[in-house]
């Protein structure tokens, strides 16, 4: 069922394309040897190139170029063996050169594709138009002084990848899924850390609306949206605004807008009449970037297994559902954790424990998968105790909680607390007999056909055995007695 918004004149389709700016993971900047680490003292990671001192020349960072190529390969995109840097001219206080070195006509990466999965179980392909390399600007602080803005150039010149999608996205959900998937791919590739809070990944959201079957109408660009949730909200808010404009007889003007998360609406950026006259031209300080196919091939050979391939393998090798597999591969560290738990064990059970109790424990303790409250090895040993019949599934949950609290090994907890499963049939028979003897009227009801009472008997026997009875043996004993 396609997503539409019902207006007073009927249903409207939403058309969205995204420009994602992803900060490249590299030690030094795109054109200088200054460091890129986040959070350093102001202007402490600035070279004369980044500050645009006269006569300073940019020298491209081989690794930044490799990262862009890896990303292109991860997006199944064309790699352009010849690309070029251009100057995009505009004036702003945090852009000391007076231009941004970017790639306009000849980007390093061409058309590619991202597959997204939607809540209804369907999948969709979102086209990538291009990916190009450019410099990030410095950072302006406007709230430190009544009449001055403060400028920190540490970010100036850090390599950015601008990843432009085709206008293939048709709903807030698809926009969110696209950003999440792209982020996941970038993190797998190790080309961008995807940290939206620190601004390493930010999205410009292009939105227009139209009636079914129409050509595209005018779009507006919502700038610098910095979370997946805000991307989804911005799509909806901007679509609603445009529908209201069209339906009141007005015309949507192409403009740049900002998303106000507090009000849940977009508003126009202060108009910069000439802002869009960027007068791109080839940067005379830089020769074209010419790549060897063999170098690109070597980068390709060294790529890690990406989320889609890993998901397919989890379904194939471990028999997981597409949904469980998708949850487990979203982060590389989670997938690694799962594989360590599942290795040599019941993979389906491992998946249930990782996505269930273990994820809940991560949330509850505020810990991350990189620093888990229970190691994969320990969780694996807990599963082993279930597999060899030492404990049952119910007791396993109790042991899991104890592992969280004490950090002790599951076998030690089972021994110390006497949680070992009772498989001694005489003890089980005794418990069954006691429960049946105590409930003669229920036994009579059961025998007269009230089958549902079987669960009542199981529950009481397990209770009598402090949860430690072997469920299969308890069931068998009850079946036998109740005939």
């Amino acid at each position: 069922m396609a997503y539409t918004i019902e207006g007073s004149t009927g249903a409207w389709e939403v058309v969205v394309g995204l420009e994602v700016h992803a900060q490249v993971i590299s030690k030094s900047k795109l054109f200088s040897g200054a460091a890129t680490a986040f959070g350093a003292a102001p202007n402490s990671q600035v070279s004369f190139v980044d500050a645009a001192f006269p006569g300073m020349l940019p020298v491209p960072n081989r690794e930044a170029i490799a990262q862009a190529v890896r990303t292109g390969l991860g997006l199944a995109a064309e790699i352009n063996l010849v690309s070029r840097f251009d100057r995009k001219n505009y004036f702003y206080a945090d852009l000391p050169q007076g231009y941004q070195i970017s790639q306009f006509e000849h980007p390093i990466v061409g058309k590619g594709v991202v597959d997204i999965a939607l809540a209804d179980g369907s999948t969709k392909q979102v086209g990538i138009t291009r990916l190009h390399l450019e410099q990030d600007a410095g950072k302006s602080l406007h709230d430190q002084h009544p009449t001055k803005s403060f400028i920190d150039l540490n970010r100036s010149g850090v390599a950015l990848m601008e990843i432009v999608s085709e206008p293939d996205i048709r709903s807030p959900e698809e926009a969110g899924a696209y950003v999440k998937k792209l982020r996941s791919i970038l993190r797998y590739l190790g080309t961008c850390d995807g940290n939206m809070e620190e601004g390493s990944l930010r999205a410009d959201v292009n939105v227009s609306v139209r009636k079914a079957g129409e050509a595209y109408r005018t779009r507006c660009e919502v700038k610098n949206v910095n979370s997946v949730r805000f991307v989804m909200q911005a799509v909806e808010a901007e679509a609603l605004r445009q529908i209201a404009v069209w339906e009141s007889g007005g015309t949507v003007e192409q403009e740049t807008r900002l998303f106000d998360a507090n009000r849940g609406e977009t508003r126009p950026m202060r108009s910069k009449e000439d802002a869009h006259d960027y007068r791109y031209f080839p940067d005379p300080d830089l020769l074209p970037v010419v790549l060897e196919q063999s170098w690109v091939d070597a980068l390709k050979a060294a790529l890690p297994e990406l989320p889609d391939a890993k998901q397919a393998r989890f379904i194939r090798e471990y028999g997981l559902s597409p949904y469980d597999a998708a949850v487990l591969v979203a982060e590389q560290a989670t997938a690694q954790f799962f594989e360590a738990v599942a290795s040599g064990r019941d993979a389906k059970l491992a998946a249930n424990w990782v996505t269930g109790d273990f994820f809940a424990a991560l949330n509850r303790t505020g810990r991350s998968i990189e620093n888990p409250p229970i190691t994969a090895a320990a969780l694996g040993r807990l599963l082993d105790l279930m597999a060899d019949g030492t404990i049952n599934g119910k007791i396993a949950k109790e042991v899991f909680e104890a592992m969280l609290d004490s950090g002790e090994d599951p076998a030690a907890i089972v021994d110390a607390r006497g949680l070992r499963q009772v498989t001694d049939t005489s003890a089980i028979d005794a418990a069954v007999d006691a429960v049946l003897a105590a409930n003669p009227e229920k036994v009579a009801e059961y025998k007269s056909g009230k089958d549902k009472l079987f669960g009542f008997f199981v529950g009481n026997v397990m209770k009598a055995m402090a949860g430690k009875g072997n469920p299969a043996l308890v069931n068998a004993a009850l079946k036998q007695r109740l005939g």
């Binding site: 030094s28 040897g33 980044d50 702003y92 206080a93 406007h142 002084h145 001055k148 403060f150 020769l287």
Partner: protein, 95 residues
């Protein structure tokens, strides 16, 4: 090619150069003669010739990804007209 006064004003604005109204006509004439001079290049037949983006046939030199610059806030800020701590200070720009 001939520039009109509006284009001259626009170029000046994009370049953040203040041009008094009285200068526009003189600048227009100057720019037109410069453009006319450059337009002589149109006489050359460039059909089938790839655009040249640099004056050399050298390959682009790349740098290894190493931190070997920066760490000199004082030097970077030395020529700043205004500063506050280790920040550049500029007239307030609010978006």
């Amino acid at each position: 090619m001939s520039l009109d006064p509006a284009t001259v004003r626009r170029i000046a604005k994009l370049a953040r150069i203040r041009v008094d109204e009285g200068q526009v006509e003189a600048l227009r004439a100057d720019l037109n003669s410069i453009l006319g001079w450059i337009e002589q290049l149109n006489e050359v037949d460039t059909d089938g010739v790839a655009p040249l983006t640099g004056g050399t046939q050298m390959a682009l030199r790349l740098r290894e990804d190493a931190v070997n610059d920066g760490g000199m806030a004082e030097a970077v800020l030395a020529n700043a007209p205004d500063r506050d701590g280790d920040y550049f200070a500029v007239p307030k720009v609010v978006e």
